[in-house]
């Protein structure tokens, strides 16, 4: 039963991260089409960067403690990337250069999105597997 809860929790965390990434993408797209100014866009994105990182960290932790080794390993690259970016102080969007970085930032987030979707599919699969198992 605990395992199922772990899967459920991980599932909701994943959904949360997905939502945060989508939100960031939305802000970038809005910026590109000139619906909002760079100041708002940058501050909105930066506002959710920390939640995203924390949620991702928690996700890793849950998988680790619940013994979902494969999922944990799959989450590791993302965690590593986040830590690396943070240690280089590049985790926040730079409002002054946001237009020059727009394409790169979008690319990163789209990549994350794809990656998260795969994780999501796997978690759902394992969650169902666990339910069936029990």
């Amino acid at each position: 039963m605990a395992d199922l809860f772990a899967w459920l929790f991980a599932f909701f965390l994943l959904i949360t991260i997905l939502a945060l990434i989508l939100y960031q993408l939305m802000c970038l797209a809005d910026l590109e089409f000139d619906y909002i100014n760079p100041y708002d866009s940058a501050s909105r994105i930066n506002w959710v960067v920390w939640p995203e990182f924390i949620a991702q960290g928690v996700l890793c932790f849950v998988h680790l403690t619940a013994g979902h080794w494969i999922m944990f390993l799959l989450c590791l690259p993302y965690l590593y990337y986040n830590i690396k970016v943070y240690s280089q102080r590049r985790h926040l969007v730079d409002v002054t250069e946001i237009f020059n970085q727009l394409h790169w930032e979008k690319k990163i987030r789209l990549f994350k999105l794809g990656y998260l979707v795969i994780l999501l599919a796997l978690s759902i699969f394992w969650m169902i597997w666990t339910i069936v198992d029990e």
Binding site: L31, E32, D34, N37, P38, Y39, A42, R89, L92, D94, V95, T96, I98, F99, N100
Partner: protein
């Protein structure tokens, strides 16, 4: 400009050399002279044209015939472009003067046709264009030759014409080159000409004529003979022999004799075959410049004549070709395109390696008498396109009897508002044209109505943030600054509206209440740096005219107030925040005087210093980027609230300009750096530059956008500003000393228009409190041919763009990478160019380059050796590097080129010679920047626009030194400053100084004295700036040229 010059010399030469020369003069065609459009003439002097014809009888006749043959078959190339019959339009277009001549050529089936032109002379419209033309086979050349004019031909609009340049299709069938688009004609020749051709710049010409024709047609009527001819004609007659040298006349390079042998051969061929080749050869002759680098490939060390290398000793000469093509364009001071030919397809654009874009200086100073006209539409509102928001400009067309106008950028048909209506005459011109500057001038200024304001226009506002720590006081900075500001109070723009405020700081922050009711300012000290608050928020910024007494009293007492200050700390960050709080209501200009490294509170910086260990590693660039995100954030906030920051830094020690400069970078400001400021030495410089900063005409709270036609888009911008949306530059303050670069990209794979229009619009608040829009409009042709792009290249703009890209690169890469980037760009560009010609001509051992880019290698070299990019750790101090980087990112083209290739002048003759007057001293007699130019007996002056260096040769006459320096003769040159003395020599020198300072008032050229052999000063001030010399790890000009040549040849 470069492109044109060569021709002139050439012409005279050719006739002489050519056997045919005689006929030239005689030719009946001279009559054609009138035909030449003004434009055409610019490119190629008309006279030569005549030569062509004459030649025909001799050898050409057959040739032509051959060509004609060629035409028939090749039609494949570009069909219709050449001729566009739009009979109806014809009349409408431009005044004949513009030089429109269109000469559609009838296809020349046989040699006879060649003769045609003459016939046509008599009766212009003689032959209706044969169907063939339409077949499209007609090559440009063909058109020149024979085409009788179709009477009706006219370009709908000037732009259309452009196309003509493109058709080089008339390739003789035999030639099936990859290059066909470029210049077919040339091809055949190649075998014959061999290396000799190198100098030529011929083929391209055809293109030009095309351009010329592009202009308003109206005149076209008669011109039986095509103007193009002339240019080409020259080519014809003298086919081979003169060619190699033609280009050379400039003195670049004596062509290697080798080539000559080929000449006879070629001519023979011509005669034998009567083929197109001759033509081609001519074209070739004119088409490019070359330098021989040794007779045999592989033996590079011989054969390069250093003296023959091109040098921009005339300074920057902007190319006129575009301006002549489109006389309604705004001046080149304002807008310079890296190439005047916009590629018509993405594949063509991808073969262009020098950056496709523009350098814009929206407020460039206009010479007296040519001021930008101000237009007030009053209640009508500003006339703009409904869809793309383009402002009305000289290129819009009025239709429907003047009730509608067509936007030149998006071609939408707009209604003309009732108040703006005017009848249109038979030519499509509005009858009130002469009263409408916006329809006749490329640059105008509109008075913007209320819709263009988000708030009432702000007053000019100056806020001074002054460091008063011990070093500021001791260096004398404080005193100079206070005096200068005081002396400028009367001249601040904005008269009675101007607002002013002061804030000083050391370890605490001092505010000054200067309410108009006070006689003495009140000082308030805030020492809580963590939680800054602003006391009396209303009285810190005051109206200058109302509080004049208090302001003056403050400035008077400022130096003495802190005389005894022993504080070494600097709470710069908190002070900055305080200034932001004070200014955020209105915006304005924040002028920062910083003497030490910020050491307290938020934004304090480490003495991270210039770590030699980082150079050459991946972390090298971190030295050049701001360390603390605080500064970027502040800069972003400043821009948001319309605050522009100018940073003046004075410390001799590390001050982290990289971080401080960010403030200026993103707010459209400027960085001034006076290393080890000492008032005795730098006073004049600071005084002048601060005065200029305070008193020059400034545009406040402005935004700038560059619009351009469909299919192209500006995608990246480079300079000191912040982007507010993808293409909107936020510029809290702009003035005439700032330029911005932008890069274009093609959005569509194929451009269908023939002209691309650009419109720069700067919306700003003038110091007088009016909202205004300065609009600059320019047109550029779309071309289908790479050679054409090269021909219309503007080296200055290219260099400016490259320098900005390279400097940006130093912020994320190693210096080495940035230098390689420049080299790579040049190599790629020249390789591409070489591919256009080299193969057919077997230009082994020759460096070929377009005439228009002849200075690019040298400027590229100078760029790699400029302060921001040069060497490594030891070659420039980090702060100087960063400052130079920030400065160069904002420099207008002309000043940048002067900085890259400064002038070196010999002055001892002028000084000693009592009959020579200083007024006559020719500051344009520049010497090559190499130590060989320095004679130990001479005295030289070196001027890069930022400083003057006087170099005394070891055996220079002591009289000069005595005359200039008086009793200081033996003193340490670093400690004395030159001042006027009471003798003729000194007065003369001062005159010369004055002259060069007046020529560029944006910076003060502080004078430094250097003795030959006095190290390290000599090295620092002069030797390291002699860009043609080999010093340290940097290569000299000759080596550099070799290097480029070698790389160009690899994989060529």
């Amino acid at each position: 400009m470069g492109t044109e010059n060569p021709n002139r010399p050439n012409y005279p030469l050719r006739p002489a050399s050519t056997p045919f020369s005689a006929p030239q003069s005689t030719t009946p065609f001279l009559s054609s002279g009138p035909v030449l459009g003004s434009e055409a003439s610019a490119f190629r002097p008309a006279p030569p044209s005549s030569s062509q014809f004459p030649t025909l009888p001799f050898s050409a006749g057959p040739l032509v015939g051959s060509e004609s043959l060629g035409f028939g078959p090749p039609p494949s190339a570009r069909p219709n472009e050449l001729v566009r019959p739009h009979p109806s339009l014809q009349s409408s277009y431009g005044p004949p003067t513009t030089g429109f001549q269109r000469f559609p050529a009838p296809p020349l089936p046989s040699t006879d046709h060649t003769q045609h032109p003459r016939a046509s002379l008599s009766g212009p419209p003689v032959v209706p264009p044969p169907t063939r033309l339409q077949g499209g086979s007609v090559s440009s050349e063909a058109s020149f030759f024979s085409q009788p004019q179709p009477p009706s031909i006219s370009m709908g609009s000037p732009p259309q014409n452009i196309k003509t340049g493109q058709f080089y299709s008339n390739i003789p069938p035999s030639t099936d080159q990859p290059f066909s688009p470029s210049r077919q004609n040339v091809l055949p020749i190649s075998p014959m000409m061999g290396p000799s051709q190198a100098t030529a710049r011929g083929t391209s010409q055809s293109a030009f004529p095309g351009y010329a024709s592009a202009q308003p047609y109206s005149s076209a009527q008669v011109p039986p003979v095509r103007p193009p001819f002339p240019s080409q004609a020259g080519g014809y007659a003298p086919p081979p022999p003169p060619a190699p040298f033609v280009a050379q006349p400039r003195g670049y390079m004596p062509g290697p004799p080798v080539t000559t042998s080929s000449v006879p051969y070629s001519r023979d061929q011509v005669q034998l075959h009567g083929m197109a080749p001759p033509i081609a050869s001519q074209g070739l002759v004119e088409d490019f410049s070359s330098l021989s680098l040794g007779s045999v490939p592989g033996s590079f060390d011989s054969g390069l004549d250093v003296k023959a290398l091109p040098r921009p000793l005339d300074g920057d000469v902007a190319s006129k070709s575009l301006a002549e093509m489109y006389p309604l364009n705004c001046d080149s001071r304002v807008l310079r395109l890296t190439t005047g030919g916009i590629p018509n397809s993405q594949s063509l654009a991808s073969r262009w390696h020098l950056g496709l874009g523009a350098v814009v200086c929206p407020l460039a100073e206009s010479p007296i008498g040519d001021e930008v006209p101000i237009v007030n539409f009053g209640t009508t509102g500003i006339i703009r396109c409904r869809r793309c928001r383009t402002y009305v400009n000289p290129y819009v067309t009025f239709t429907d009897h003047g009730r509608k106008w067509r936007c030149n950028i998006c071609s939408l048909l707009n209604d003309v508002p009732g108040e703006y209506f005017a009848h249109v005459d038979a030519n499509g011109r509005r009858v009130d044209l002469d009263q409408r500057p916006e329809l006749t001038k490329g640059s105008v200024e509109f008075i913007a109505p209320v819709e263009y304001m988000v708030r009432p226009p702000m007053p000019p506002l100056y806020f001074f943030l002054i460091d008063v720590s011990i070093s500021a006081v001791q260096s004398g900075m404080l005193e100079v600054v206070a005096q200068t500001i005081k002396s400028c109070l009367d001249n601040l723009p904005g008269s009675t509206r101007t607002q002013i405020g002061f804030l000083t700081y050391d370890s605490t922050i001092h505010f000054y209440n200067m309410k108009s009711s006070l006689v003495q300012p009140q000082m308030m000290v805030v020492s809580d740096l963590d939680d800054i608050f602003v006391p009396l928020p209303d009285d810190l910024l005051v109206n200058l005219s109302e509080s004049r007494i208090a302001v003056e009293a403050f400035l008077e007492s400022l130096p003495s107030m802190f005389q005894e200050n022993m504080n070494v700390e600097s709470a710069f960050g908190p002070a900055l925040k305080a200034a932001f709080m004070v200014m955020s209501q209105l915006g304005g200009k924040l002028i920062i005087f910083q003497n030490t490294l910020p050491s307290l509170g938020v934004g304090r910086l480490r003495l991270r210093g210039d770590d030699i260990r980082l150079y050459g590693t991946d972390k090298e660039h971190t030295l050049r980027v701001p360390e603390d995100p605080f500064y970027k954030q502040m800069a972003a906030d400043f821009t948001k609230y319309q605050i522009a920051a100018n940073v003046y830094a004075f410390s001799g020690k590390y001050t982290d300009i990289a971080s401080l400069g960010t403030l200026a970078k993103y707010t459209g400001g400027q960085v001034y750096y006076y290393p080890s400021f000492l008032s005795v030495i730098h006073e004049d410089k600071l005084r002048h530059e601060l005065t200029r900063d305070l008193t020059r005409e400034t545009a406040w709270e402005s935004v700038m956008r560059i619009r351009c036609g469909k299919g192209v888009r500006f995608t990246s911008f480079h300079g000191n500003f912040m982007l507010r949306s993808t293409d909107l530059l936020a510029l809290p303050a702009v003035d005439c000393d700032k330029a911005y670069a932008a890069q274009l990209s093609l959005e569509e794979t194929l451009l269908t228009t023939q002209t691309v229009y650009f419109q720069v619009a700067l919306l700003y608040t003038s110091s007088s409190g009016e909202r205004r829009i300065r609009v600059h409009t320019a047109a550029a042709p779309v071309v289908a041919d790479l050679g054409e792009m090269y021909r219309l290249t503007d080296t200055g703009a290219v260099v400016s763009l490259l320098s900005r890209l390279a400097i940006e690169k130093t912020l994320s890469n190693k210096l080495e990478d940035a230098r390689n980037f420049i080299q790579l760009k040049i190599v790629k560009a020249f390789r591409e160019y070489r591919n256009l010609y080299a193969v057919q001509h077997r230009l082994v051992g020759r460096m070929i380059y377009p005439e228009s880019l002849k200075f690019l290698p040298l400027y590229g070299l100078a760029l790699t050796r400029s302060t921001p990019l040069r060497g490594g750790y030891a070659d420039a101090q980090l702060d100087e590097r960063c400052e130079a980087g920030y400065t160069m990112m904002a420099l207008p083209v002309k000043k940048l080129l002067k900085l890259l290739y400064p002038s070196l002048l010999r002055i001892d003759d002028c000084l000693v010679n009592s009959s020579a007057r200083a007024d006559d001293f020719d500051i344009s007699k520049r010497l090559p920047l190499t130590s060989e130019s320095l004679d130990t007996r001479g005295v030289y002056i070196f001027d890069d626009g930022f400083r003057l260096v006087i170099w005394f040769g070891r055996s220079a006459s002591p009289d000069i030194a005595r005359g200039l320096l008086g009793e200081d003769l033996g003193a340490d040159f670093s400690k004395i400053s030159l001042s006027q003395r009471d003798n003729e020599m000194s007065r003369k020198l001062m005159k010369i100084f004055q002259k060069s300072r007046e020529s560029d008032p944006s910076y003060y050229q502080l004078c430094h004295l250097v003795r030959q052999g006095e190290q390290p000063r000599e090295g620092y001030f002069l030797l390291s700036n002699l860009v043609e010399d080999q010093t340290g790890g940097a290569s000299g000009y000759a080596d550099w040229f070799m290097q480029l040549h070698r790389q160009v040849q690899q994989n060529a």
